[in-house]
Symmetry: C2
Subunit: 189 residues, 2 copies
DNA sequence: CGATTTTTTGAATCATATCAACGTACGTGG
DNA sequence: CCACGTACGTTGATATGATTCAAAAAATCG
């Protein structure tokens, strides 16, 4: 039984215990060691991953040959390259464990099979996507509203625990500036 | 009958003619004159809008009191403030017609009613959202990969027709820089 | 046509990047 | 469990891309 996932789903839709049992037989959990990869460029993304423990990051190598993090996956979030998952074309992204982690893989094939039988799963995923999309819109809004320094300060007051959990250079990458600049901001008091 | 919308939906899911008739009775089309608003800050967003003709923009007023466009809505795209629509809290956004336009309003109440009866609608909206979310992810990827000038040049080679359709200052706003800077880029040949 | 909206131009300024060097911490194997 | 090597963080000097402000020129609309 994948309790963390079931709890999460039941916040959005109704699932009976029998349904839960059946769904869970289709899913497999994996444990990841820090720095293990779930996805690498060139590979086709086969699943959507629910993070039940630990922390992952989704990143790519940009034009300047630098790692650019576009998303973190904390406990209770889904992480995947939807583009590759949907089109089954090779990904340009890495998904990697930042800390030891545990994920539940929801395969594309399982997705198609299960949503056939359980329409409320379709509702669940629509709601999850809606939340993810709203978050992405807010992120774009943020990028365009605030300077890099302001974004760092907002971020660390809003997520103080998270800031301590990741190396600074990853935070800088996620926020879209250099580690040196982050260091200088922090030095300013 | 809202043919543009039906065509669009049938690219993603199967809808019989009877279903189509029933669905269409729940929807209403509106025509908008250039500069008309579908949503303004402080109001609660009641619908998701399918753009069947013309061009809309979604924007907000940022910290520097400037209009910041976060999204355009072209023919065949949906546009809304998902956050306000979902939570029924007041929006911070404007949705406005850039050109004379026609939209089909898909009310939140209609959404709940229709997806009850037609599960494939849930699938349709999940797929639409997945596409929108993938686009938002790609946009963030772009912002972090290229300089403002590079982003403008990519954008205008990828969407040459679109660039001619909107005033330059809106394009600058969407791409996240000043109209003056856009003008200088263009002057450079 | 006049009024408004949009675009252009130039000079001064600012936020952030880059490079390079040095300091610190940390985990891994002996 | 210590020492070493690698990964991470800091600092300062210099460079750059983009903004701001102000004014004029051009385009569009009623």
């Amino acid at each position: 039984m994948h309790l963390a996932l079931l709890d999460h789903m039941r916040k959005y839709v109704t699932i009976t215990d029998e349904e839960a049992t059946l769904i869970c037989t289709k899913l497999k959990a994996s444990t990841l060691k820090k720095k293990d990869f779930l996805l690498q460029p060139g590979k086709v993304c086969r699943a959507n991953y629910f993070v039940s423990k630990g922390l992952l990051r989704l990143y790519f190598i940009n034009k300047k040959e630098q790692e650019q993090i576009t998303q973190f996956g904390l406990e209770g979030w889904w992480i995947t390259d939807y583009d590759s998952l949907d089109t089954q074309k090779p990904s340009r992204f890495y998904i990697q464990a930042v800390e030891d982690a545990e994920v539940i893989a929801w395969d594309k094939t399982v997705q198609e099979e299960l949503t056939q039988s359980f329409p409320q799963l379709e509702t669940y995923f629509r709601k999850i996507l809606q939340r993810a999309y709203a978050a992405a819109q807010r992120r774009i809004e943020y990028i365009y509203s605030y300077s890099d320094e302001e974004r760092y300060r907002n971020f660390s007051t809003n997520f103080p625990g998270f800031v301590q959990r990741v190396p600074q250079y990853m935070l800088a990458s996620y926020l879209g500036f250099t580690p040196q600049f982050l260091s200088k901001i922090r030095a300013k008091k």
